[in-house]
């Protein structure tokens, strides 16, 4: 059994990155995720990784591009406005097929916004935040434990598919402390024959580029990327369910709000309302198939998506419920977290309809 600790989500992410064999961290401090770079700076003398505070998020993402291209296991973390600045680099990395792990500890927006938690960056994360036809793998932890576990998973998936992987969390999960069991360190054995590490006599040059001037070449690249995205969709969907077996109402929620919703499920059931919770663990690839299956069940009356946004994931729920059931939404914005009671009140008002 691993070491039991009481840690903030951000600290757990940082410690897990060290244990997962991270070789370089590039970042620029921003609330509410600065504990990551603070933690890594404190631990740096004991380890063998590069830690670099860039002059901006734009610089940080291009350092990810370069060091990742040289085959390094690389990490950056930021919060909403900082992740917007990084989008150009994420798009380049996706086209060039350079793996790297990103974490966006989301705060309220748009604009400079607030330092309090939000889930308002869902569209940016899952619909391709930068330009061009692309996706990155998006994991949504809902506990300090998962903040650690998902770092291992993100590195593994990023390397396996040569794609950026994003941990999409929020200021509350980043700042709160919980008990967790730290995963044991795993030695990182790089196997990246494509990396630009200097040409040797026995092989061709490795070229990493996202520039394909000829349309025919660009389309071949696009088709290749799309094939990879379909493969990820087929193999890497992850989700969790709580009391959905006999549920009449399915709450869909991810991250922090899925924790609040779980409590609402328990309180609701004490009052005789058959609630269940569907929680995506990956939001790209999205658990389309399972949502469609649930939508076909006769005993389910409706879905309701609970988010800290004006309604973003709810669109993916609607898309896959495909008109078979009503899909409702309840959200708070601006850094406000809904309470279990607010969720129950909304469910009850829809039950009366």
């Amino acid at each position: 059994m691993g070491e039991i600790k009481l840690m903030k989500g951000n600290e757990a992410l940082a410690e897990a990155a060290i244990r997962a064999g991270m070789q370089a961290y590039f970042g620029y401090p921003i609330t509410p995720q600065s504990e990551v770079i603070e933690y890594l700076a404190r631990e740096e003398p004991k380890h063998n990784y590069v830690l670099l505070q860039a002059e901006s998020e734009v610089a940080a993402v291009n350092m990810m591009y370069g060091a990742g291209g040289a085959g390094g296991r690389v990490l950056t973390t930021t919060s909403s406005p900082g992740f917007s600045l990084m989008q150009e680099g994420v798009s380049y990395m996706t086209c060039t097929e350079i793996p790297g792990v990103f974490a966006n500890i989301v705060r309220g927006g748009p604009g400079l916004g607030t330092i309090q938690p939000s889930q308002g960056d869902y569209f940016q994360a899952v619909k391709g935040g930068g330009h061009g036809d692309y996706h990155v793998i998006v994991l949504v932890p809902n506990s300090v434990q998962e903040m650690a576990d998902h770092v291992f998973l993100a590195f593994e998936l990023a390397d396996k598919y040569r794609i950026p992987a994003l941990i999409l969390s929020d200021g509350a999960i980043g700042q709160m402390m919980e008990k967790l069991e730290l995963p044991d360190p795993v030695p990182y054995k790089p196997n990246k024959p494509w990396a630009t590490t200097g040409k040797t006599k026995d092989r061709e040059r490795n070229i990493l580029t996202s520039l394909y001037i000829k349309s025919e070449d660009m389309e071949i690249k696009n088709i290749h990327l799309q094939k990879k995205f379909r493969e990820i969709e087929a193999n890497e969907v992850r989700f969790d369910e709580y009391k959905t077996e006999d549920a009449e109402v399915i709450i869909t929620s991810y991250g922090l709000t899925s924790r609040v919703a779980k409590k609402a499920v328990d309180i609701g059931r004490e009052q005789g309302i058959k609630l269940g919770l569907f929680r995506p663990i990956t939001v790209w690839p999205f658990p389309k198939g399972r949502i469609a299956e649930l939508a076909s069940r006769d005993d389910i009356r409706f879905f309701i998506s609970i988010e800290m946004s004006a309604g973003q994931m709810v669109e993916d729920i609607q898309l896959n419920v495909c008109g078979k059931k009503p899909v409702h939404f309840y959200g708070r914005m601006g850094g406000i977290v809904p309470t279990p009671q607010e969720i129950l009140d909304t469910v009850q008002s829809h039950l009366k309809e």
Partner: protein, 179 residues
Amino acid sequence: MLQEMIFAGFGGQGVLSMGSILAYAAMKEGKDVTWYPSYGPEMRGGTANCTVNISDQPISSPVVNEYDLSIVLNLPSLKKFEPKTKKGGILIWENTIIKQKPERDDIRIYGIPAVEKASNELKNVKVMNMIMLGALVTLNQIVKIDSLMKALEDTLPERYHHLLPLNQKALELGMSLVS
């Protein structure tokens, strides 16, 4: 059993550390814990609070509707959290800073002159949060007092370890005020 608690006051009064020491102690006793902070950008002077949940079972939500126990160190926090204390729950308020009394009659209310006791008897106002914490664990028995001392020892940087005996005195003083 699940205990849902709120610690609230001004930034700088030690409300966040009070909560984290309790959470750490409970974790060391093998319980599941969540410590959920809420504060503004300012380090001192603004309002700060943290929700601490402790349970024998896995905890679902770090965010709750109302509290089994509320501990308040300023008037805005009393106004905000007295109504959110569960019926039959406990409200602990610092009664030298807060001049206005709580009003409810369906909860157990304990006024603790922690600031006055810390300044006059222990000659260090900073340990007033430990007086409040001593009162808290005596009232709800959520962790053992030894676990709190161990938590302080584990979490305080070594350069502050000469303050451990003072903190122990403050915890004991807090215990004596409610027993």
